[in-house]
């Protein structure tokens, strides 16, 4: 076998860049990236067969369970080419596979010269893969098209080879065929990576410049920063400096991943490895930043650094109010490893104390929430997510609104909302329903292309707020799960947006306010007043529920007065039961929120604000408590 033992392979800091190949794998969830990566670890023998386990590189439980990669990885694989017989070092940089992490993906891509485009040849390319492929092409990466799962009985390699060829502009015969499962074609793929992907180029004598493409918090070692050296050299004796902040750090360790961390004498041009500096928080070592040395700093940063910008906001509240400090601690801990996560304390009349959190997108939100619940044993309620609005007042003042309750009163000149450019891939039979959905969500068609005979790529601009509100679910259900979606930010645009207030007996209830398009205000008003009519128990007087834009009422419901609230019977044996019920109601009353004279149970707030999944959870918790 053309594997080379680690000891005999070219060593870090002493490898000629001409012998290095840096590549990543672009693939959709389920298309077999982790299995292929496992196979590469196996045949290069960096992992011994007896130590092998599935999805070797995915570190978090959540990654294994969901089959997605959240944080990237970089593994050094020595390999002797079957074509020229020379020794090479392959650095496989794993990229996160989801729309929310486009920025992180783009940094991973920037650390490579080539990409393996891996497509399941029973399913074809998906929207997120396509988006990442375009990203790779924009980064001038060499693309190696690969059809995976050729062992499957329903594989259609000819069909999808044509599809890939159309997308990349190569010949269908150029598509390699592999099976991560059986190992077929994997050695040939490694050889092709060496043959097709250019070696890294850089100036070994220039001041050091290394790109941070990932930054991971480790509870024992602090932050582990993954870098790709572009110019110069990093050695264990260096003091390093972050270009964006100018902050200096001691270097405690430099090394490569193979696939366990292995300290090295340094990293040279084109090499990929890790740094440990004793930093305790990933925000001090941000993805996209440039690492240089303190003694001989570079004057020119590597391009592309951006601060992560939260796009979606949601309130997170502990189900049990006493868990608030636990939640704070858990968020603090999570932020060590997630520079994109922002949060600040929020107090809600309905839900108590919690945090207003900002996320990159819906998946990021889901992952954060799941990790909080799992790792800190918390039971959380999250409010329906919303986007960030910029409100321009007539007096020229500007207000940034991350929570509908912050929407300013007074004369509003214009409201701006985030817009995204979305790409949807689907079988062509669904074009109609997809267009219907997008138009219903204020979408503007940008274009449509057939990527193969029966599959189309549809491009729309859509307000992010519309995507945040159950768009995925709708898309999936209307296309029987066949459509895939990707989107990227496209800046803010003015929208005909209004704030709809919900009034109980004439009093506005902050928690129920929403910012919606004017055309949808009525529908929201009808939906919310109807929901509340079901959720709020009858009072001894009639309670009007109104939806209003400013002072104009757009929808109205009412809860009829309660006429009977008494248990008729009260004998000896009933008294104790009745008193216990009263005691229970006393407790319940503490959780009642008074809106004027109207008693609103906390459950009503939760049910109106929370997601359906949350409501199920609350029901289950209540059942278990009884």
């Amino acid at each position: 076998m053309p594997a080379i033992s680690l000891a005999k392979a070219p060593q870090p800091a002493a490898t000629n860049p001409a012998q290095i190949r840096n590549f990543c794998i672009i693939a959709h969830i389920d298309h077999g990236k982790s299995t292929l990566a496992d196979r590469m670890l196996g045949i290069t023998e960096v992992v011994e067969a007896r130590n092998m386990r599935a999805q070797y590189l995915d570190r978090m439980d959540i990654e294994r369970e969901r089959g997605i990669t959240i944080k990237s990885q970089a593994v050094r694989l020595p390999w002797r080419s079957g074509i020229d017989g020379q020794e090479y070092i392959l650095n496989m940089i794993d990229t996160p596979g989801h729309v929310d992490f486009t920025y992180e993906v783009s940094r991973s891509l920037a650390a490579c010269e080539g990409a393996v485009l891996l497509v399941d040849c029973a399913q074809g390319i998906e929207a997120q893969t396509l988006a990442n492929l375009y990203l790779a092409m924009e980064n001038n990466l060499t693309i190696i098209p690969v059809l995976n799962k050729i062992d499957l009985p329903n594989a259609q390699p000819e069909k999808f080879a044509k599809e890939l060829a159309n997308l990349i502009g190569c010949q269908p015969e150029d598509c390699l065929r592999v099976s991560g499962k059986t190992g077929d074609g994997v050695a040939e793929l490694l050889d092709q990576i060496i043959a097709q992907i250019p070696a890294p180029q850089g100036d070994a004598s220039a001041p050091a410049r290394a790109l941070i493409f990932d930054s991971v918090y480790d509870s024992y070692r602090g932050v582990v920063t993954y870098v790709r050296v572009v110019d110069g050299h990093l050695s264990p004796r260096d003091q390093i400096q972050m270009f964006s902040t100018g902050v200096r750090h001691e270097m405690l360790e430099v090394g490569v991943i193979s696939p366990e961390p292995l300290p090295s004498k340094g990293l040279g041009v084109g090499e990929v490895g890790y740094l440990i500096t004793g930093v305790k928080d990933v925000r001090q070592s941000r993805v996209g930043d440039t690492v240089t040395t303190y003694n001989n700093p570079t004057k020119k940063a590597l391009a592309g650094y951006k601060d992560p910008k939260p796009m979606v906001f949601s309130g997170l509240f502990p189900l049990d109010g006493a868990d608030f400090p636990v939640l704070r601690e858990a968020l603090d801990k999570l932020q060590l490893n997630d520079a994109a996560l922002v949060y600040e304390p929020e107090s809600s009349a309905a839900l108590g104390f919690g945090f207003r959190c900002g996320f990159l997108g819906l998946l990021h939100m889901e992952i954060v929430r799941e990790r909080l619940e799992r790792e800190s044993k918390l039971n959380l309620i999250s409010t329906a997510p919303n986007v960030v609005y910029n409100v321009k007042m007539e007096d020229g003042k500007e207000v940034r609104v991350t929570n509908p309750s912050e929407f300013p009163d007074g004369k509003v000149a214009a409201v701006f909302e985030p817009i995204v450019k979305s790409t949807i891939l689907a079988p062509s039979e669904y074009i109609g329903v997809i267009m219907e959905l997008c138009q219903d969500r204020r979408g503007v068609l940008l274009g449509m292309d057939y990527i193969s005979e029966d599959r189309v790529e549809i491009r729309y601009t859509l307000p992010l707020a519309e995507i945040v509100f159950d768009f995925f679910d709708q898309l999936k259900s209307r296309t029987k799960g066949y459509a895939s979606l990707d989107y990227e930010e496209k800046g803010d645009e003015e929208g005909n947006l209004v704030k709809v207030d919900i009034l109980l007996q004439g009093e506005a209830v902050d928690a129920f306010s929403a910012i919606v398009h004017r055309d949808k205000a009525y529908a929201y008003g009808v939906m919310m007043t109807g929901k509340l009519r079901e959720l709020i128990p009858r009072q001894q007087f009639e309670v009007p529920i109104q939806a209003a834009i400013g002072s104009r009422i757009i929808a109205r419901e009412s809860i009829r007065a309660m006429r009977k609230d008494v248990l008729a019977k009260c004998y000896g044996g009933d008294i104790s039961r009745k008193r216990k019920l009263l005691e229970k109601q006393k407790e319940g009353k503490k959780r009642m929120k008074m809106v004027g004279r109207v008693e609103v149970p906390q459950e009503a707030f939760v049910a109106a604000l929370a997601t359906d999944a949350d409501i199920e959870k609350i029901k289950a918790a209540r059942k278990a408590g009884n």
Partner: protein, 373 residues
């Protein structure tokens, strides 16, 4: 302090569909046993329990169930005799028997009077056959009139009927006919209860399946206001949320419950209250008997109420009565919270006490919550 006795008779010929009381049919207890055999044995156990009650004056005894009238009068008489022997049973003590109109005869009624009963309460429930059918009751509505006149002829001074309203399928007119039928009888007292669907009953299952539909609360409220009005018109005055009587014919035993007096419940599952302490017996008759015959206490559990619990109970019970609450019972901020209820006509504070108006009675529980929270 006087001590009232409740005697639980946990037997019925058949369980009614809405009933979740602690009662058993003979077939549920043991194969081939007749009630006569079970009865004697059961009364032995009750007398054992009675031995542990503190001696005091006894103003009332109430035999409830189950169906006390299923047992031979002599067996029930053994309990009265035992109480008379050990306690100071007042000569004018009220001694009530709950009776099924089907299970009484002139002879039995005479015997009940002989052994000491002076008040009888018949489970009439409804005058409408389709309502009785929905309730799964076995009696023939015509038997009620017969039973009442037999009881009067036998010499009962105080006769009551129990009614139930809000049964699935019962209209306001059905209910009016039932009340009128009851008021046409020679009775002194009416208890009228809104039907409560208890979990685990046959009725609950029928509703869950959709075979029956409960009337809405608005109809229930109208039914309550109707019975109140018709009783008052007929000279039966309201004195507790669900009870109306001729003057002087109020049920003293139930008033003892509602005034937080001392009372002792004999029998399986029975609750007792003595000076702020409450306990209840094991539920099953067999377990109850076994414990007593083994010389053990039949008490399953007990609770001692603290001052705030006692006060809550007192308010919760007293507000349901004609006399209502005294102003001194409430704190100023509690009175303040009641202002809107007074303004909206739920409370009458025109005298020196706080009383519920008819519409106020319908939301009594809410008003109690308003006070005690």
């Amino acid at each position: 302090m006087p001590l009232s006795f409740y005697v639980h008779i946990p037997y019925c010929v058949k369980r009614c569909g809405y009933c979740d009381f602690n009662t058993y049919t003979p077939s549920e207890l043991q194969d081939g046993a007749t009630l006569e055999i079970v009865s004697n044995d059961y009364i032995d156990a009750v007398l054992r329990e009675l031995e542990s009650a503190p001696t005091s004056t006894v103003p009332t005894i109430f035999f409830g169930g189950g169906t006390p009238s299923l047992l031979p009068p002599a067996d029930l008489g053994r309990v009265i005799a035992a109480i008379r022997k050990r306690f100071d049973l007042a000569p004018d003590a009220e001694i009530t028997l709950e009776a099924n109109p089907d299970s009484v005869t002139a002879e039995k009624l005479a015997e009940y009077l002989t052994v000491g009963f002076n008040r009888i309460s018949f489970g009439m429930q409804s005058a409408k056959p389709h309502v009785l059918a929905a309730l799964d009751r076995t009696h023939n509505p015509e038997n009620v009139a017969k039973a009442v006149s037999m009881a009067r002829a036998a010499g009962f001074e105080s006769i009551s009927v129990d009614l139930i309203y809000g049964t699935p399928g019962e209209s306001l007119d059905d209910w009016r006919e039932t009340i009128e039928a009851a008021l046409a009888l020679d009775i002194d007292h009416i208890s009228a209860y809104a039907l409560i669907v208890e979990t685990g009953t046959k009725l609950a299952a029928q509703i869950k399946r959709g075979d029956l539909t409960m009337p809405d609360d608005d109809l229930m409220a109208d039914m309550y206001l109707l019975v109140d009005q018709l009783c008052e018109n007929a000279g039966l005055s309201w004195y507790e949320l669900s009870n109306w009587s001729k003057p002087g014919k109020e049920c003293l035993h139930n008033i003892a419950y509602w005034k937080s007096a001392n009372w002792w419940g004999l029998g399986p599952g029975a609750h007792s209250h003595l000076n702020g302490e409450r306990w209840w017996n094991v539920k099953h008759p067999t377990a109850y008997k076994t414990k007593l015959f083994a010389g053990e206490s039949p008490v399953q559990d007990r609770e001692t109420m603290n001052a705030s619990q006692l006060r809550d109970e007192e308010i919760m019970l007293a507000i349901r009565m004609r006399e209502g609450l005294s102003f001194e019972m409430l704190k100023p901020h509690e009175l303040e919270r009641l202002a809107s209820y007074r303004e909206e006509g739920y409370l009458d504070t025109s005298s020196d006490r706080i009383k519920l108006t008819p519409t106020g009675r319908l939301i009594a529980d809410r008003i109690v919550r308003e006070i005690v929270m």
